[in-house]
Every structure is written in structure tokens, then in C-alpha cells.
Symmetry: D2
């Protein structure tokens, strides 16, 4: 049987969340996110993030990101993000669709992270002239990044301060937010609301849920109406939202979200340690969350593949592959991978 | 405890579908609708509808409808539908959003059904002049209708023939398709592909599934690419689609979809019979599926409400209310309702 | 040579405006509506309308209307207009395009005019439920109407008050605004800003200009930025705007705009008088501006056509035709038409 | 009095075109581009470009570009252009607006020109994966470029061949097309239809016309309907199009378009020669059309400004300024500029 490190998107639902779904399945419940489960989530998230949180429940990270950006960006506004960002490369233009033709501006930066220098350079390079040009409107950071690295609280804060000074709003794509928090060992509020993030796509599907994501809006309750209109208008307001909400309640309960991410990160760390001690293999990026980018040889990767180990060869690179570790990755699987290496 | 006839949107998931979810929850599975479950659905639907079916799995009827219409309608195209249609009144402009500003044209017609006469009159009334006007592009029928009635196969066929003759494409909003088939006692193909329907939003969420719908495209495989692009771009391509697919496989298996709808319709019929024999209450529309529109007195409705019976008072009408019966409506609940009446 | 009553769109440019174009054609001028001519127009219009006016110069009435409506209507907002309105029937969905899928709601009403009764009925009929439905956002009146009638100041005021009470904004499509003012014999402010109109598409192309229209925003300077962004983004910010502005300055000067419209209305009135005294011909609508809708016989119309008289047969009606009179319609032409009748 | 080299957008209308406007101003004419003047243009352009040409008359280059790109690019398609392109930097996202959220991909390249190397590198860098990514759909070249340089016929051909091989369509932004033809000394067909260009925004406003541009579609008559729908829907179908058409007929007549551009180029060449012989000033780019990018000192530019010479300081660069020469630039003005240098 294959051992699968292709993506945390391919993992099953963790037992606690499946149990929550089953338990929620009794009797009727008010439709359209007005059920008893959904109603608890604003309080739960507000406690977790130590501030006022407006919550929109959705089923994919793509729509959470798109609603967030479209809520604060006019059609003639631009969104700055790292050139490897999921919104730039993997969402088929969902931000442009929801935002009626807004523009993404890809920014350079090492190891998946844009810096104050590359962001400000990009803003200068795209500086416009009045109505003839796009208006810088939002900054979107990915945490953890597409390279498996994380922004520190200080880095987030300085980027957000810079963006806010220019009148821009700030968004964090947290498809792997739990892994970032686990990797940093910080409080979730420290790298979000307290560091200047206005909106967070709080991902859960990759970390043990079925199709459950939450768009969190910090301290801007006036954005709720636009965000909710966009959710309904795009067909994302589930009638039976209770099954999403029940999962998320279970996910937050007892710090489950963080424990599962910590487990995933630990499995990644074990593999990273093995790579470091390997004579030929190398880490392409520091391993700070649950992803390992392995720089090795085509022959080496082919060898792993022959052992029915699944992972992602990097497009355009013979010498690079990505291994993702999830809440369900077992010690046995890691040991098999390490021994294969 | 309340007895709930507000909407089939509020029912729980039926046991067989919940079991299917639990059973699908083992090990990893390829993401983005390329898993083993999803791969079986095109064959299953093609068999059920006795023709070539392209299947797009989604989580809401709104998005199924919107993708269908946007796939065949240019931004300057118009879609004709009954004035009570869900796409017209309850989807926040999703067709207009996905269709980049296409236009819906509401058509009159008795008991929720447009007729050849009202459709052709509406098309004449909105006849345009070249590039200055919208181009009639699609017809959308709701089956069963928002009034709980059904189109016969002959009615569907004559409307589709008329639309096709004008170069329009045809769509059926089948949020309660199973109830229509159960009500008509026909084969599902007879009122869809074989009657000239090009696309069907095959609803399952209202009839025992969690958040599982399928957009079916009949004999037009060349529309797949546009439809799939729209699904992804709108954030509706779930990474863990297997849980949707597993439900739908269980739903189709052993004619479960039809049995559950038959049960719901029977419960509606019992209540309708009671209404008919009631001295003051009346049926607003013929009861042909799982909805009963009760014409009665404000006092009567208030009495039912006082007994903790939930149903929908009709907006703008003191003397009208809707009762919806679902796969989970029990005999005991029906009896309680009838005795209360 | 044909005598042409088809449309005031087909008339030539009046001498004063052509002279203004020629006179403006010396030396260089700052591009993009920042030239010396354009800079004078806000003052000129503010004086004419006795209030603060923000001016956007454009070349067509369609774009003036579309920018106006998109400036105040969200994508999930609806615009109420008469069912015969140009925005509804003749602009290929420009409001929907500029408004990213906003919805027009056609309202009934006699002789091209919606009334408080039909408007309020339409709003009731389309009443929605929260995020599931469109939000009534704007009212658009056509002045003079597509039937050649006019709204009185009192009618405009009561409709605007009603709309404002519901939180809606108000727009007037004034493609033939000059003819309405001439017909009413009122001050232009009385039927616009002072009656509650927020925005006016001030038409000039039909009344002696080349391709010159002005979107006027009354007392809402904060709408300027959105409107200007929409103008540029839709390709309507002319580099050489001076030629539009020079025309409009000449048009406003010495009450030329009103004199030309008065002339056109007088020619219409002469024809209307002839119709009234005709044994078989009738007026379909009261003649209150520069259009006459003649109810007559197919044979009668064919006779006129045989004399090389051009006019518009009404679609779907054998017994109806429209005659439009313009600034350039001569007495000789009117006499020829009357004698032919 | 100021001497103005800021932009050819600021020049007046040349006498022949003004005469054509005045001459066209007699009697009525069929509206909406169906007049006698407009009807001649397809033949005139087909002769000029030695092939079948579909013509859309519009008033700005922005809308010509936007319609062209939106006609051949789906919302999930991407358009590759040079990073200095007008569509990327100066059109407020018109392509994204008309194209419902299509994406522009800016490509590097020396002196305003993308090369086969930079284009193919950019396409590789943005390579996607199925429905998750944008689909490369169009290539847009600017001729002459934003740096005042030109593509040779061979360069155009190799870029178009490459794009066509990938299934992309090709567009040329010819806001200064006449200057490019004059600079190359070639036949206009050689760098367009015969080199693989599918659509040309044929600019005239910068070179002596008022607000007159033509979108030319080569050998693809089936694109006409979409392009015309987009023109009307965006409010760009002028009722009195005869004044645009009359200008363009006069512009094409007797090779006027080329003579005026040749004059402008010659004035640029004189200034370029003066720069070359200057001890400190330099040319930033080769001067191949009607623009000169002068690399000099801040003091030098301030000196010119003190003499009331108008030109464009380059954003973000103290040492760079642009001088544009037009059809109306006189020898005296050039001599004054050169002596000031």
C-alpha cells in the first residue's frame, strides 16, 4: 500500500471531527448557518483570538481568500502577495472573479516570504497615476508559506504596519495556519489580530476536517454584510451548515487544532533531521511547519517512487520534491520514508 | 419538542449517507474530485439517465444552477425562468455573478409552472434589436416547482423544443428532482435528457445528503471544461471531494434517492388529504410532490404555531403557509400535524 | 431626398457646437479632461442647477447611465426603472456590466411613466429575505420618457422621496432632458436636484452635439472617485476631451440647449395638432416633448414611406409608429409630413 | 507660450480631419455606425492591409485594446504583454474589466520589447496545472513600444508563431502604429496580418484625429459578434459615428496617416541627433519612432522647464524624461528645444 506525502489535502478526517458530524446528525436544524452549532462559533473564535471576531463559515480556502480580498478591494484595487502564493497560482483567478477584476501583484522574496524590502520595491515599481492605474488596496500573507516557512510575529507586524500606513488592508491565508502557530510556539493572536492582520482564512480541511474553513474578520464588524453577500452570491452558504460548524467546534475544543498540527510538524521535523544527516540530500528551505522541500537527485526520487512512496515532484525541477506531513501521518510511515531515503 | 415542516433544508442526513461518509474515511485519497468515489459517478449517472452524462460535484444547488447557466449563456444573454424560480428570488444573483451580468427574465405561469403561452409571450415582449439587446440564451425549469407542482414529460418536451428552435439551451433546477420523479412515477430520463433538457441540477441535500449536489450535463461533453473552470474559479472544487461522492453513490444505490422522495411525497399527500376534508382550509396549489401550500386563516396558523409546529408563513400573505415534508418526516409527526389542523 | 423623423440620434451637429469644436482646435491642451474647457464645466453646471455639481464628461448616454447606476449600486443591488426604459431595453446590459451583475427591475406604468403605486407594488413583489435576495438600491427615471411624456416636478419629488426613504439613490436618464425642461417650462433644477434626483445623465448628443454627454452628480462629491474610476476603466476617458467640453460650453451658453429643444418640441406639437384634427389618426400618448407616437393604419404608414418619409414602425405593432423631431427639423419638413398625413 | 512635448495626446486635430468632420455635418445619417461613412471603412482597411478586415470604430485606444483581448480570452485566460505596456500600467484594468477578471502577465524585455526568450521564460514561470491556473490565451505587443522602439516584421512573426503554436491569439496595441510603420519603412500589412497578428488597435487620435480609433480583426470574421456586443455593452457604440468614420476616411486617404507620422518621427530624429552630439545628454533607448527618452541631469531638465518647455519627467527617475513629437510639432519648436538643450 502506498505511503502518501503528496498533500495534507489527501488526508482523512480525524476521529474527533467525524464524531462531531455524527453527533450533530439528529433532528432538524435551522438552515443557512443559523443553527445552534454555527451560533457558537463567533464566541469561540473571539475567545481564541482574544478580540472581536466576525466568522464566515465556508468549505474551501479558495473561497475564504476570495471573499476576504473582494470585501476590501475595489475592482480597480490591487492585492500584493508573494509570487508563490496560492491565490496567485492555484485558485484559477478566484480573487479576480470575486473582486470583479481586481489585480494581484506577485512579489519576490526568499523562502516563500515577502519582506519589507521586496514589498516596498514592488509597490514602487507598480506605482500608478490616479485613475489610470490600480490602487494598492490589500496585502495578503501566507502563513505557513508555500515553502513551508513561517513569518514571525515581528515580521507580520512590520509588514502590516507598512501596508496600513499606505491605506491597505491585510489578509492572511492560513490554509496551514495551525502548522504555523505550532511551528512558532506562539499564541494565535500574536501573529494575526495583534500583529495587524485584518482578516484570516482559518484553514481546517488540511488538518483533520472534511471541508471546513472559516473566514475570520478581526474588529471590523462592518465588513460582515459584504462578506456574507459574497458568500451567498457565490453559492457558498450551505443550507446544512451545522455539519461544518460541528466540526469546527470540535476542532477548537481542547486545543485539538494545535495538537494535530504539532503532530504533523513533528513528523516533518523527523524527516528534515534525516535529510540533514544525509550525505547528498539537502533542504531547499528551512523546515518550520509541516512541509519539507527535498533537494536531491532524480534517481533518488525515482527510487522512492519505486517503493510506492507518494510525494510531489516540483514542476520544472528534476532535483526538487515536496513532502507534506499531516495529522494522520504515522510514525511507521515516517520511519519507512527515512529508511527509504 | 418542535415538529418542523419549515423546509427540507433543515432535515438531517439519512443513515445510509452518513454510513457512506464514515466508510469513506480511511486512508488518503487523491484530492480535487479525482478519488475512487468521484470517478464512479459519471458511470452511475450515465446509467441512471440512459445517456452520456458529464458530472460536476458541488455542495449547493445555487452553484449548480449558476455554473449551468453561465456555461451556456454569454454576458449579453438572457435566461427565461418562472417568476417564482429560486434562481430569480433566492440566490442573491448567483447566475448574474457567474454569468458576468447575464439577465434573468421572470415569466408568469400558474401554479409555479411557465407554459408555452407565457414563455412565448415573454420572449416576444423582450424581443430586442441586435447588439442593443439581450440575446435569449437559456430556459430554466424548476422541477418540482416552487409551488410543489410538477411538469409532465410532455410539458418539458414542448418547452424544450420551443427553446431549442430559438437556439436556446435548456436547464432544469432539480433541487427537488427526486420528489418530481416520485410524484410523476416516471423514469428520470423521461423528464430530462429524453425530453430535451441539456443540464440538470440534481439535488440531493434536501433529500437526505449533507451538502451534495451534482450538475449533470447531458450529451454535451464539450461543455465540461467551462463548467469545471467555473467550479474551481468560484472556490467550489473541494479538495476532499470523496465525502460528497461517497454520499451520492449511496444515494443512487438501491434506488435510495427515489425511495426517500417517495416517502416525503406520501407524507405530503396525507396532509393534503386532511386539508381537502377540512371545512375551511384549502390547497393553494395541487400537491404533486413534497410541499403543501395551505390556504387558511391567520388564526389557524397561529394555533399551529402555539403547538410548536414549525412551517413557513408566506411573505405578504396572511392566509397562506408552506409545509414541506422530508425523508425524515415521521408518521407520528404527520398525525400530530393533522390532528392539530 | 428623404425626410427623416426616425430619431434625433440621426440629426447633424448644430452650427454653434461645430463652431466651438473648430475654435477649440488650436495648439496643444492638457489631456484627459484637465484642459481649460473641461475645467469650466463644473462651475457652469453648478450655476445652471443652482447647487454643487460634480461633472463627468462622456460620449454616450449609455455610459453615463451605467456609471451612475454602478456608482451607487452594489453587485447585489437592484435598480427599479420603467419597463420601457432605455437602460432596460436598449443598452445591451451596460448597467449589469458596469455594476458587476446588478439587477434591473422593470416597473409598469402608463405612458412610459412609473407611478408611486406601480413602483411600490414592484418593490413589494420583489421583496427579498436578507442575503438571499437583491437589495433595492436605486431608482432610475427617464425624462422625457420613452413615450414622449414628462414627469412633473411633483411627480419626481414624490418618487424620489419614496426611494430615499427606502435607502435607495435616484437617477434620471436625461437623454432628452432638454426636451423635458422645454415641455414643462420649468427650471432645470426643479425637476432634478431640487426634486431629489441624485444623478442626472445630461444628454446633448440628441439635441445638437456630436457625442457629448455629461453625468452630473448633485451634492455628493464623495461619489466622484468611483465614477471617475469607472469612466477610465471602461475606456471612456478621452485624451482629447476638450472637443467634448467645448461643445458643452457652447451648448449651455445663451440657453442654446433649451432653445434647440424648444424648437424640436414645437415641431412635434405642430404634428400632434395635425394628428388630433385627423379623422382616423390618433395619438398613442400625450405629446409633451419632441416625440409623437402615431396610432394609425398600416396603409397610412405605407403611404408615408412611399413618399420617402422616414420614421420608426413600432416593433410588434402594425398600427403604431414613432416620429421624432429634432433641433434641425425644418418647418418645410413638418409641413411636408403634415400634408402627407 | 509653452512649447509642448508632453504627449501626442495633447496635439490638436489636423486640418484634413477637421475638414472631414465639417463636411460630414450635413443632413441626417443612420445612427450606430450604419451611416455612409462607416460603411466604407471595412473596404478601405481591407485594401490597406491586403486582407479581410473586420472593423470596429471606437473613440479610445483603451477600449480598442480591451475589446480585442476580451474577445479572445476567457475569464480564466491570461494575456502576456511587456511590463511597460499601456494595458498593464495605464488603463485602470480595462482588460480585466472587459475580460471579466482575465489576468495580464507582465513580461520583461529590453527597450520596451519582449523577446522570444523573455516571453517563453514567462510562460514557463507561470505554467499552471489544469483548472487551478490561468490558461495562456493571448499575446499583446505594443508597436511602437512605450520606449519609442519598434518590432521588426521578423520579430513580430517569430513571436506570433510561438504564441499561435501554444494556442494563443495575438494582438497589437497600435496607439502609435503609424509611427512604427513610418519608422520601419515597411508596408503596414508586413508587421500585422502578414506577420501573424490577429487584431490591431489602429490608433489615430495621437496622430491627428479627434477621438478616433479602429479595432481591426484580420481574417476572423466570426469574432465580430462578440466584439460588437462588447462595444455596445460598454457604451462605446456612438449614435453619431459618422464623425469618427469621416475622420478615419480622411486619415487613410492619400496616405495622410503615414505622412503625419513620418513628420513626427523626423522631428524626433532631429532632437535625437542633437542629443547624440551633446556632451552630457544621452538617449535611454534607440529612437525609432516619435518618442525620445532623454537621460540627462535634474538641473538640465529644470533648465528646460524654466524656458516653458513641457515634457514628461519619468516617475522615480531624476535623470530621465520623455519627449514626444507629433503631427503638429513645428520646425521652430524643435529648434527652440534643441537650442535650449
Amino acid at each position: 500500500m502506498a505511503v502518501n506525502f503528496s498533500s495534507d489535502n489527501e488526508t482523512p478526517i480525524a476521529p474527533a471531527m467525524m464524531d462531531a458530524i455524527v453527533e450533530a446528525n439528529h433532528g432538524t436544524a435551522t438552515a443557512y448557518a443559523e443553527d445552534a452549532w454555527s451560533n457558537q462559533l463567533e464566541r469561540a473564535f473571539s475567545e481564541l483570538f482574544r478580540t472581536d471576531v466576525t466568522v464566515l463559515l465556508v468549505t474551501t480556502g479558495t473561497v475564504a481568500n476570495a471573499i476576504a480580498l473582494a470585501t476590501v478591494t475595489p475592482p480597480w484595487g490591487s492585492v500584493y502577495c508573494h509570487q508563490s502564493a496560492h491565490i496567485q497560482n492555484d485558485e484559477s483567478g478566484a480573487p479576480e472573479f470575486f473582486g470583479n477584476g481586481l489585480r494581484l501583484v506577485p512579489v519576490e522574496g526568499e523562502a516563500g516570504k515577502l519582506s519589507l524590502e521586496t514589498l516596498s520595491q514592488s509597490i514602487r515599481d507598480t506605482e500608478g497615476h490616479g485613475v489610470h492605474s490600480y490602487l494598492p488596496s490589500a496585502l495578503s500573507l501566507t502563513q505557513s508559506t508555500e515553502s513551508g516557512t513561517v513569518y514571525t510575529a515581528d515580521e507580520v507586524r512590520s509588514l502590516c504596519d507598512y501596508a496600513h500606513d499606505l491605506g491597505m488592508k491585510t489578509h492572511m491565508d492560513g490554509a496551514r495556519f495551525a502548522n504555523a502557530v505550532a511551528g512558532l510556539g506562539c499564541h494565535p493572536a500574536e501573529i494575526t489580530a495583534e500583529a495587524g492582520i485584518d482578516m484570516l482564512s482559518f484553514g481546517a480541511s488540511k488538518n483533520g476536517c472534511m471541508a471546513a474553513e472559516a473566514l475570520l474578520i478581526f474588529n471590523q464588524p462592518q465588513w460582515r454584510d459584504t462578506a456574507e453577500r459574497l458568500r451567498k452570491r457565490s453559492g457558498h452558504l450551505l443550507s446544512k451548515m451545522r455539519y461544518v460548524s460541528a466540526q469546527l467546534l470540535a476542532y477548537l475544543e481542547d486545543n485539538r487544532w494545535l495538537e494535530m498540527a504539532t503532530h504533523a510538524n513533528q513528523q516533518a521535523a523527523k524527516f528534515a533531521a534525516a535529510v540533514k544527516s544525509h550525505p547528498q540530500a539537502n533542504l531547499e528551505y528551512p523546515v518550520q511547519a509541516n512541509e519539507v522541500f527535498l533537494k536531491w537527485t532524480d534517481e533518488g526520487f525515482t527510487h522512492l517512487e519505486s517503493l510506492d512512496i507518494l510525494f510531489q515532484r516540483w514542476p520544472g525541477r528534476d532535483d526538487l520534491a515536496r513532502f507534506v506531513f499531516g495529522h494522520s501521518t504515522t510514525d511507521q510511515e515516517i520511519e519507512f520514508l527515512i529508511s527509504a531515503l
